[in-house]
Every structure is written in structure tokens, then in C-alpha cells.
Symmetry: C2
Subunit: 251 residues, 2 copies
Amino acid sequence: MPGTVQSIERAAAILRMLAGGPGRLGLGEIARSLDLAKGTVHGILRTLQHVGFVEQDRVSGHYQLGAALLHLGTSYLDINDLRSRSINWADPLAARSGEAVRIGTVLQGRVLVVHHVFRPDDTFQTLDIGALLPLHATALGKVLLAYRAARPGASLDRFTHRTVVGARELAADLDRVREAGWATDIEEYTVGEAAVAAPIRGYGGLVVGAIGISGLVERICDNRYRPHPRLVGYVRDAARAVSRDLGAARH
Amino acid sequence: MPGTVQSIERAAAILRMLAGGPGRLGLGEIARSLDLAKGTVHGILRTLQHVGFVEQDRVSGHYQLGAALLHLGTSYLDINDLRSRSINWADPLAARSGEAVRIGTVLQGRVLVVHHVFRPDDTFQTLDIGALLPLHATALGKVLLAYRAARPGASLDRFTHRTVVGARELAADLDRVREAGWATDIEEYTVGEAAVAAPIRGYGGLVVGAIGISGLVERICDNRYRPHPRLVGYVRDAARAVSRDLGAARH
DNA sequence: GAACGCCGTTCGGCATTGTCGAACACCGAC
DNA sequence: GTCGGTGTTCGACAATGCCGAACGGCGTTC
């Protein structure tokens, strides 16, 4: 890619690597993975540390993500049009459906969760905002796949015995999504969980995100393993409402 | 600062600027603020866009923060020791005190909120995680100021008529904090709100963060405008519990 | 309607800048 | 003691990314 600043791309690659791995990473490990000299990586890491994007563990010397990123990440949430427009509609959807609501958009071949409303009951739930989900195994992801040029990654990871991993099978699934205007995921990502999602369209009718509900299969689906039409209606209504907001937002 | 990568520092400065301003920023505006050539800034922005750290509005051409930062930010939360150790203690504190609980640490002269438990009642509240609060006008901030070398910024912003803006006055306040082992903020940041906080100590007794509760003055304080001793006790207990966890966490 | 100011973008030349690789100091384990 | 593993420093080279001027659109202004 011409006209791009090399050191910044490398810094971003390091940050992505730190975000991927489950914790601290050593300098040598990073240098080896990116095929760079240790000295080079050290210089970049020192700079990233200086600006607060990474921190170094005093005892092991290993590096991890830094606190400044948290503020940048939440600042992104404040600006995001998709999120701000959907907040008003996500709460009613959760209330009417009785399920958790999530809103996602595409990031680097995965679904980025930009908003999350907990299921109305009082069960313990963890906040999914900022999480990355697979495109091919979630209802949100299938919607985004179906309406965007983005193709799924070459290898379709299997998460459960129901995950669609065949390219041909997935393509047929996506055709159905385009035809119906909504997508499902029934125990394809997590056993016992199902989800329904519909596309959110922005300026010019382009699909910019997806909104959906998720919960236990027995609540989402009827005895024929199909989602309740009532729930599908709620989700589609919410998606349309957000789309209208988003289209009107553009002057 | 020698041995630091110039372009990365500049990229970070741009990101910080985008996070500070309330939305999109123009290229010229950024270039002027940072005293750089427009071409230079453009190259950096193009790279940041390429890695997903910034996005560009098609119609105005202006730049804003990108989605990739959200995932990096939440990944930081997953790693953060202070946060993960305090989660177990924050919920009981909220339940016992009946108030919202927040945990903060120092970032660039301000308090970064790394964890937030809502007040147990069902009133509408917004998640503060990732927010940056002033050091001198919040209970969390005063604790961090009192026990860390970090000095407050040169100018102490005034938020309410009770905000402590005199350097001398603040120093006396911090002395009291060190002596008592906890800090308060009574309508110094937001009118009608008060807070109590205590220090969290990590490996070697160093103060690495603060935990505190906040809510309406009439609930936090008695009729003499002093926080209820019962609540102070709860906060200090929680702070000690987290500190113990954190100290034990180091192998 | 033409001239102006502003926007983001492109491009080529110069030298500043960041890269590299080897050498260093440290730690723990075999 | 030695070896393999950290993270770190340093100096030399040239590749790299900076700068500034020029470009093409837009909207406003006169």
C-alpha cells in the first residue's frame, strides 16, 4: 500500500497482536511474529508506552495494552452514529422481546458489538460491547455478510455441531437471508443459544449494521426449531426504526 | 524524548485530539493545532484509516475515531488486573451501600474509570467506564493525588461553587486524605452529588487505584454535610479487600 | 458570474528519521 | 559454569516519511 506510514502500520499490528493474545506478550515473541528486528520493535513499543497505548510489566518485562486505549475506545462509542441512533430503539426491543439486544457492525472480517442491552430478567450477564464475533456463525454476522460485499474468511471455524462451515451451504443460507430480510443463528455459535437479526440501513440504503436479539433456544424458537414470528417481527420493526433514524440523520 | 518514533507520537496526538473534540475534525484543523504540514497529517490519517483507527465521513471529508479502537479498549479491560480483581468486591459494595460504585486509576493527569457498578435502584444511569474525570474535584481523584507523586494540572478547573481550586486549599485537603485514609467530594464536581473513595494498594503497598461510591448528597451525607461513617466503612473495607487480592495476585 | 477562501488530496526532492543487527546486561535453569 | 532466554542500548546506513507547493472541488461572497 503506497503512501502509508510504515511505522504506524507496524504499531497497529503490534496493538492488534496484544489485543488478540490473552495477556502479556514478550518483545522477542512480537518481533518474531512480525518478522522485525528486536531493536525496531523495542523502539515502537517504547513510543507506544510513552503515549499510554501499552504498559510494561515491571517484573517480567512483558508488554500489554495500555489504559489510554480504553478512553479512545469509549470516545468512539460517543461519536458512533449507528450506536447513538439505535440506543433509543434497543431498550424497547429488549422490553418487548424479553431478550438481550445487540447491535453490530463489520470490523476486519468479524462482527463488532457496538451496543448491548441486557435481558430484562436479573440473571448475571457480561457486557459484550467491543467484542468481536464471527460473521458466519451469528445472526448479526449473517445479516452483515448477506448485504455487504465483504466475504467471510477463507476458513470457517466450527464452534458447535450446528455451525455452518461449508462455503456452499453458507451461500445458500445467505440467499435465504436476503430473500427473507432477516437471519437466524440456532445453536451455531453457542450450544443452547439462538438469535434473530435484521439489517440496519444508513444513508442511501446501504447496510451499515445489524440489530438482533439472542437468548436460550427454547425461548427464541418454537417446537419446530423456528424462531417465533412475533420475535422476528419485533426485530425487523426495530431495524426499520433505526434505519429511518439513520437516514433522516443525514442532512 | 530520545529514541522515540516520531510518526507514532504524532498519530497518537491526532487520536487524542479526535477523542477530545466532540466529533469529527477536519484535516486542516488538525494540522494547524499540531503545527504540521497538511500533507504530513494526511499521510498519517490515511494510515490510521487503513488500520481502522479513524474513519472518514464521505460527505464532509472530516475524520473521526474508528471502530478498531473500541475492540482495543475493551481488550484492555480484559487484561487489567486492577479491574478484574475489583469486580468481585464492587458488587457487594454497591449492594451494601445502595450506591453506584466506580473504580479509577490515573491516566494523563486525570482519573480513568475502569469499572462501574450501577446503583441498585432502577433509575436510569449511563455507563462511565472509559470516562476521564478531574483529579482535584472527585473523591477518586483526590485519593490518587494524595498517594501518588502525580501533581494536579497547573490550572484547577472550577465545576461547581464548591470545587476546590486553590492550590494551598487542595494541598490541605490532600493532607487530610492521607491522614484519614479516605477522601470525599461533596458537590465539588456535580451539584447535588457526593462521593467517598479509598485507595487500592498493589504490589509493595503502592497505590494503583481507587474505589468509591457516589450518589445524591442527601443519601451519602448526614445533616452536618459529613459522609455517613457506615458508608465510609464499607468503602474502606472494599478497598482493603481489593488490595489484599491484588497483593496476593503477584507471584 | 467570477473571484475568493477553504476543503482534502497529490506529488517530487531533500535530509531527517527510523530501521537494522550486533553487542550488552540481566535472569533462571539445566 | 554455561547456555538460552529475556529486554535494552548503540552506531551506521539509507530508506523513509516529512515538507511545501500546486491541484481540483465546493460554497460563499461580492
